[in-house]
Subunit: 246 residues, 2 copies
């Protein structure tokens, strides 16, 4: 499928709006995604206003896509709507727990991915912001998310104004396991990462960061233990605050 | 995109194998999915053997698709491979925490969804098993998953031997929010669920279960508080056991 084979993340957008009818038709079409028990445990907050983007930008580390994109979509794990439904229908919901969070997050992420594929098939470009999980509590506050709603993914969306190189991927043998997980020997690691490490763009990345290996760029610069541990505490805290964890 | 617009979950499969080269080409193509920092924090265990399926079946509540499908795919959140790489490259990984689990689960789920879309575009049929999150600890044991690997999704895959009706979906207005989350009034809940509740298949579902409302079928029969709470405890336990939670 060309849409997937040729995809790349798009961070620069043309000065051209994303038509609301088109956006809604894509969001509607993505609703065909499989969903747990047909419950559709997700919501999407659509941000188009300059003020809304300006409030979200610092919560995504001021990545320029947030204010530059015509549309920002925040995909939320949402058990609130289902629970409100239960309360209106004499049913006693028991979804204020961790399994329910993961079920809703799963629904939201699968829906999000299908939306991305549909949008890219229309020629739109997008960037998936992993930063949504870094400061979810502040995002929840800015977007007014009630209990049992947690943001899990953000997409900046627009018409592409760039056509970057595709990034590298591991050989398939590195990610599939036949019948049983076979742990990685140093030889298997060498085989999996050899091509990645040999790429000039990655070698340059190592040099720029003054590191010895590419892996050190990840552990020492991009995704450090200190950051991960602090952000993990915040993430567990927002799950408690939003009612998914005792 | 017809593949998504026309999709339905397929639970009955033709007596026809899924060619390994085709499967691998789809798994490979799905690798183009966006991934955090290019790390590809996922693995897939491919189960084709009757013995392997028989071991997995009870962990998925003996849903008949598990043994009937030619292929069962278990998609795992996997930081193990990346950590092994770090250890082989003089880098000190800090990924034994909750944020890292959610990052890896996200990667695995987005990859899984694109795999599903690609497989369905080839005419294959599949069913997504939400039960993966119910007994992840036993699944981890059966598949031999090491620390920092947790199963998050399972797909049963084969050539369709049925063409079921599509299931209902909520109106788009029920899932999107303009700039800010607007909580649901009883009127908004009525508007969102009116069509779903009026469907004959859902009315029958209420009668069969001896309930008064459709919501009660969810809260009292399908996804009960008692089950959710017990399964949540098991889920948190497997995250601890696999090293993602203190």
């Amino acid at each position: 499928m060309e849409t997937i084979t040729n995809r790349r993340s798009i961070r620069r957008y043309a000065d051209r709006p994303v038509d609301e009818a088109l956006l809604n038709s894509l969001l509607k079409e993505a609703e065909r995604t499989q969903t747990m028990g047909g419950m559709q445990l997700y919501s999407v907050v659509v941000t188009r206003s300059a003020e809304g983007k300006a409030r979200l930008a610092p919560l995504h580390y001021n990545q320029p896509m947030v204010t530059a994109a015509p549309v920002v979509l925040t995909f939320c794990a949402d058990f609130n709507r289902t629970v409100q439904w239960c309360r209106c229908r004499k049913a006693d919901p028991g979804y204020d727990n961790f399994l329910s969070f993961l079920n809703a997050a799963t629904d939201a992420l699968l829906y999000c991915q299908n939306f991305c594929t549909l949008a890219e098939a229309e020629g739109l470009g997008l960037c998936y912001l992993g930063t949504t999980l870094y400061q979810p509590s502040d995002i929840a506050e800015v977007l007014g998310l009630p209990k049992l709603v947690v943001p899990v993914a953000t997409i900046t969306l627009g018409w592409p104004a760039e056509h970057p190189e595709q990034t590298d991927r591991l050989p398939l043998s590195a990610i599939i396991h036949d019948e049983h997980y076979t742990d990685y020997t140093p030889q298997a690691i060498d085989d999996a990462y050899r091509d990645k490490e040999a790429l000039e763009v990655n070698r340059q990345f190592v040099r720029e960061n003054g590191k010895e290996t590419l892996a050190q760029v990840f552990t020492d610069v991009r995704y450090t233990r200190r950051d991960n541990e602090a952000l993990s505490a915040g993430l567990l805290d927002v799950l408690r605050r939003q009612g998914f964890l005792d």
